[in-house]
Symmetry: D2
């Protein structure tokens, strides 16, 4: 199955990161969700850390509002913050409750170093650079989950992780990915010119994407290691 | 008519700023909306600048998401960003269209120095300090418009500015003011302790509120001066 | 007398801003220093506000350290912060003392709106964008003072402002201008490519320079208006 | 040997972090420098990563300039940035050259996750909070190296790491620690009031110190693990 079409920047970054991308998008944690062999305990550890991740990921998307230059950029970034804070995190609390993980445990969870490294790296990409640097660091999570969801939605058989897969394979999330992908393409065209790959900043922006991709792989691994 | 109850911090700041507060909340521009004597041209100038103001005010509320420490803080700040970007600014474009001011004119409007000074001061309050510094600089606009709306809703007779007054006197906006007031009280209790006025930072946080109040008065004045 | 050579970006920005640049670099305040007709009181008002300006200007140069990507960028920015904070501001206190303006008066000086608008605009340029946006907003002050100093050093006759002129016409300050100009050229080449003027961001970065240039003119005017 | 006196905040934080502090200040890496058993390769790995660390640590101290409210705060922070960028990093390049590690290898070094997690956590502490949050996250490195240097200076026998020990045990570095400690005490007194431990923010600020302390221990461990 080929990767979904989330725009030109994503396609170019994904291609540039080759083996790093596969190490994330086809991580044993992901394949374990697909075929149902992922230990339940690993999934729970992941969920708890993912809640803390979402807090800081929402903060980073809020920084994207601060760094927007057009109404379209502001609208997409603001809608993403609101969706993360006022919907996705509540959904997370609900999912965890269904698994016997209380909201108290979520809030009290000590942040793992892998989690810390990832979210603070993304935030600092935005502080150090402009919106392109920040979006390149935000993209692997948003769009990678879309790609993983779409693939597992097509490939997975009977697995206890069908709900997780359905959420990211679903039309709503896939539409988010296409919107964010289009916003990234427009933001890069505005600041780097086209073709992106000819811009002097292309390699450094791509390094942001690659580092965030590696940190995503580290995040899956943390789920396995903690279990 | 007494001021609406938007919480303890607002009441204390408002009292501390005495004459500065009245110079804003009872500015000739405001009284001109109340009794209908405000020149239409002044109102149009104000609306155009207010659009640009909202862009940067939304960016500052997004910074409040970045600086939140609790889910309640994040939720209120994120909802405010979304309301500003995905509702209030569209409403603004619509209102301006009804007055013959095109969206193009809004986007192309050169920012007045009074506008610049105000919005960038608020943003920098957040960069320099913590969430309390930022909220103290955000409060005069949000809550002052609530107070002005409520008073004019009660006092205004027949005036061409009835729509503006109705928007800010209305239940929806008054509820926003109570929510934001409660969030401010909680944020200050968490960081300064209670009573707020006994905290070593109280005077400096109050200076943030006072400066923003003066810059709000300057914003009304700009509307008159440009006309 | 032609403008000093502080690099390619400065030359291009200066040319693009034509009348705005002259309104700053040949402002009546400047010409009054040259021919000695500037009222002493105006100069004193300027000095007091300039002290507060330097505080926030140093903060903005510190943000340039935060946003640096190379050791050369960091070194130039860090040296500038240190020079501003640990030398220029002390010099300022000393100059003011010689004019009977106490350090207490400097610290207690209420910031004028023109001052506020300028410094916070520069800071926000750095928060919103990358190092190029920030440097474009920092350049008119640093390099403009160099150009004004050099011209007045050559043209001024007997004037009570000879010390001010000598400071900015002097070899030390002119060397700073050449270093900062070279750093700006390198930072733009790295991020925008060459020629700068062909980059998609060139016009927006130039707008940063133009806005800061206008705010500089407003700063001189404030000195005259307060007197 | 008792800990050196770097002020009240440091003493209180250090005490509060008990076992976490010892796990950092008496880490096997440290004891290996003391008795000379630390493998040379581990030290080299540490030095390379420490160079990258210093880049981002200097950026975080620059953020402290941005967040300063008094001239004393600005002066100490600006002097620290300048010392890090224009002295300590050059010294580092020199030390590494003496060990056969070229400047090219330093610049090209891929940042380890432990390094990334630490420096970006410190930076984000400053973005999220005020100067106290940032200083609490900066303190374990600056003052911990002072304590370790002082102890090893007194305890170490013949060891190949005598130069490293002498640098941090020396009068210059110990004076820096006392200055930074005094600045921290003043910054906390200004914002939290005294006694610090009675302030509502004390526990959260102490958590910043504790997290940075754990990340410092992780940094030593990385040196051992990479070797």
């Amino acid at each position: 199955m080929s990767a979904p079409d989330y725009g030109r920047a994503f396609a170019a970054w994904r291609r540039a990161c080759g083996a790093d991308w596969d190490a994330y998008a086809r991580h044993p944690f992901v394949e374990g969700m697909r075929d149902g062999t992922l230990p339940r305990e690993a999934f729970h550890h992941y969920l708890v850390q993912d809640y803390v991740f979402l807090v800081h990921f929402a903060r980073a998307w809020a920084l994207a509002v601060v760094k927007s230059e057009t109404m379209e950029e502001m609208r997409t970034a603001a809608a993403t913050v609101d969706a993360l804070v006022n919907m996705e995190m509540s959904l997370h609390v609900q999912t965890c409750a269904g698994l016997g993980i209380s909201e108290d445990r979520l809030f009290a969870a000590p942040e793992s170093p892998a989690n810390l490294a990832y979210t603070r790296y993304v935030m600092d990409a935005g502080i150090a650079g402009d919106l392109c640097d920040l979006l390149a660091a935000l993209a692997p999570c948003v769009l990678g989950y879309g790609e993983i969801g779409a693939r597992l939605g097509a490939e997975a058989g009977d697995t206890p992780y069908a709900d997780w897969i359905a959420a990211y394979a679903g039309d709503d999330y896939q539409a988010v990915c296409r919107d964010v992908g289009a916003m990234i393409d427009a933001a890069l065209a505005r600041r780097l010119g086209t073709p992106f790959t000819a811009a002097p900043r292309w390699d450094r922006v791509t390094e942001r994407f690659r580092m965030a991709t590696r940190l995503e792989a580290g995040f899956w691994q943390m789920g396995l290691d903690l279990a």
